[in-house]
């Protein structure tokens, strides 16, 4: 069969497009995540009003909303394939590594979309001071990548177990604690015009380790 140049890149791109198409048709993840973000922010806004001078609380609240909003969808990346019995189809058209990285790119795009909708809503409803945009956006991007890579790897590992939903939460949340600590601390620091160097280093190191583990593990995940 005539093939394109890099089969890995082509397969990753095809999987990413397929993920968006199926998500757009069903909107399972988008609806759940956006509804969670909207409900949480509205409820907090009604309960405590604007938190303009409490930048310490704002960092925590923002990342709690982003973490649980994204996990509502990210946990299903591989579970959908197992429960829909489409994993065999997927394995026949792409390598495990291409499947893993295609899912990772989709999850990353999903988190970034969630941030794109949630962060402006958060800033308006909470009435915080304008962020220091370069470090703030950097934290959002790096935190999003850490969230997506960790949840993709954990989702792939637990997808074929019986108690996958409970296992996903039980395994991913402890793993994500350093990510939460670094992003919350960094977000607070940028509002207080402090340095976020140590937080960025922690996030970059953590993400590099997870991506490295992904490269090593994806090829061994679905050997029945």
């Amino acid at each position: 069969m005539p093939t394109r140049g890099s089969s890995f890149t082509v397969a990753v791109w095809a999987i990413l497009r397929k993920e968006w198409r199926t998500e757009w048709r069903t909107r399972h993840g988008l609806n759940a995540s956006l509804l969670f973000a909207l409900t949480t922010l509205t409820a907090v806004s009604f309960a405590v009003g604007r938190l303009g001078d409490r930048t310490d609380l704002m960092g925590g609240l923002l990342w709690i909303v982003l973490l649980f909003g994204s996990l509502a969808s990210l946990s299903h990346a591989f579970v959908r394939e197992v429960e829909g019995r489409t994993l065999t189809f997927l394995r026949l058209v792409a390598t495990p590594a291409a499947i893993g990285f295609g899912k990772l790119l989709f999850n990353l795009a999903f988190v970034l979309l969630l941030e794109l909708v949630t962060v402006p809503m958060f800033l308006v409803l909470m009435g915080g001071p304008p962020p220091d945009w370069p470090p703030f956006l950097g934290l959002l991007a790096l935190g999003g990548l850490a969230l997506a890579s960790t949840s993709t790897l954990v989702g792939a590992i637990v997808s074929q177990t019986r108690g996958r939903a409970a296992l996903f939460a039980g395994v991913s949340l402890p793993l994500l604690l350093p990510v939460m600590a670094a992003t919350v601390s960094g977000t607070r620091a940028q509002w207080q015009h402090g340095s976020i160097r140590s937080e960025v280093e922690l996030l970059a190191g953590f993400t590099a380790a997870v991506l490295g583990a992904s490269v090593l593990l994806y090829d061994h995940l679905w050997n029945d």
């Binding site: 005539p2 397969a11 791109w13 497009r17 198409r21 829909g84 019995r85 065999t88 189809f89």
Partner: protein, 262 residues
């Protein structure tokens, strides 16, 4: 112990039972003595078609005690149609999954060679077409979108043309825009066949391909098998006597089968 039984010519043309390769225990390698001659109108190897060879040595897989594929030895080569038969639970589907590289056997070896070069399990999916009852597609996508995704992910440059050709061959040209969720069981089975032949693979692994097919569908399957057996290799897992009687050779699994006392 494995053994071979001769089939002196292409079984399909004679209407006789195909040569058998019994498989019950590990040990001897059974090279089917009834390898049909590679001449004649439907036995000629197509020009440029790769030569396939599959060799199993003490190959076994165990899901649980008494469940899975019991040790088996055989060696088969292209071109031809090889039937895999045996009671439910004897390991027919397991054998096909191992050959496809989807399952790592718990014992023994399964070597797939193409033009004399060993094909590692991870590389087999690009060279074989696979259709099985457990193969499901994305319900929320259309027939065409599912197959185009498969073709694109496999790196095909002419995905749309390939999908059209495959759908045409299985009699689904008008179903391209239908959601998979809206297809009947028979249509889904045809879609599995279309997926299996999408990239014109030299090796076809078909597990119960006749299930859910109507008369027209069976005719489609017959034509597909006739074309493929002439140029490549087909491994057909079935218990339908009409199907396996058309085969050139038969691998008969003697597993205990589900429901039998362990």
């Amino acid at each position: 112990m494995s053994s071979g039984e001769a089939a002196p010519g292409p079984a399909a043309s004679r209407g006789a039972a195909p040569g058998r390769v019994h498989a019950a225990a590990a040990g001897a390698v059974a090279e089917p003595v009834g390898v049909p001659p590679r001449t004649g109108p439907d036995r000629t190897v197509a020009a440029g078609a790769p030569a396939f060879r599959i060799r199993a040595s003490s190959l076994a897989h165990r899901y649980a005690p008494g469940r899975g594929l019991e040790a088996i030895d055989f060696a088969i080569a292209s071109p031809g149609l090889i039937a895999v038969t045996g009671p439910n639970g004897s390991g027919k589907s397991t054998l096909l999954r191992i050959v496809a590289g989807l399952l790592e056997p718990s014992a023994g070896r399964c070597e797939v060679e193409i033009d004399g070069a060993l094909l590692p399990p991870a590389a087999r999916r690009a060279r074989c077409g696979f259709a099985a009852p457990e193969l499901a597609f994305y319900d929320e996508l259309t027939v065409g979108e599912n197959l185009e995704f498969a073709a694109e992910a496999s790196g095909a440059v002419d995905a749309v043309a390939r999908v059209d050709a495959a759908l045409d061959r299985v009699g689904l040209p008008g179903r391209r825009r239908d959601r998979v969720a809206a297809l009947s069981s028979g249509m889904k089975q045809r879609l599995r066949l279309a997926f299996a032949i999408l990239h014109a693979p030299p090796l076809l692994l078909l597990d119960e391909p006749e299930s859910h097919l109507d008369t027209d569908g069976r005719e489609v399957l017959t034509q597909l098998l006739a074309t493929q057996r002439a140029s490549g290799l087909v491994l057909l897992a079935t218990n339908d006597e009409r199907e396996w009687r058309r085969a050139d050779q038969r691998i008969e699994l003697h597993g205990r089968g589900l429901g039998d006392p362990a």
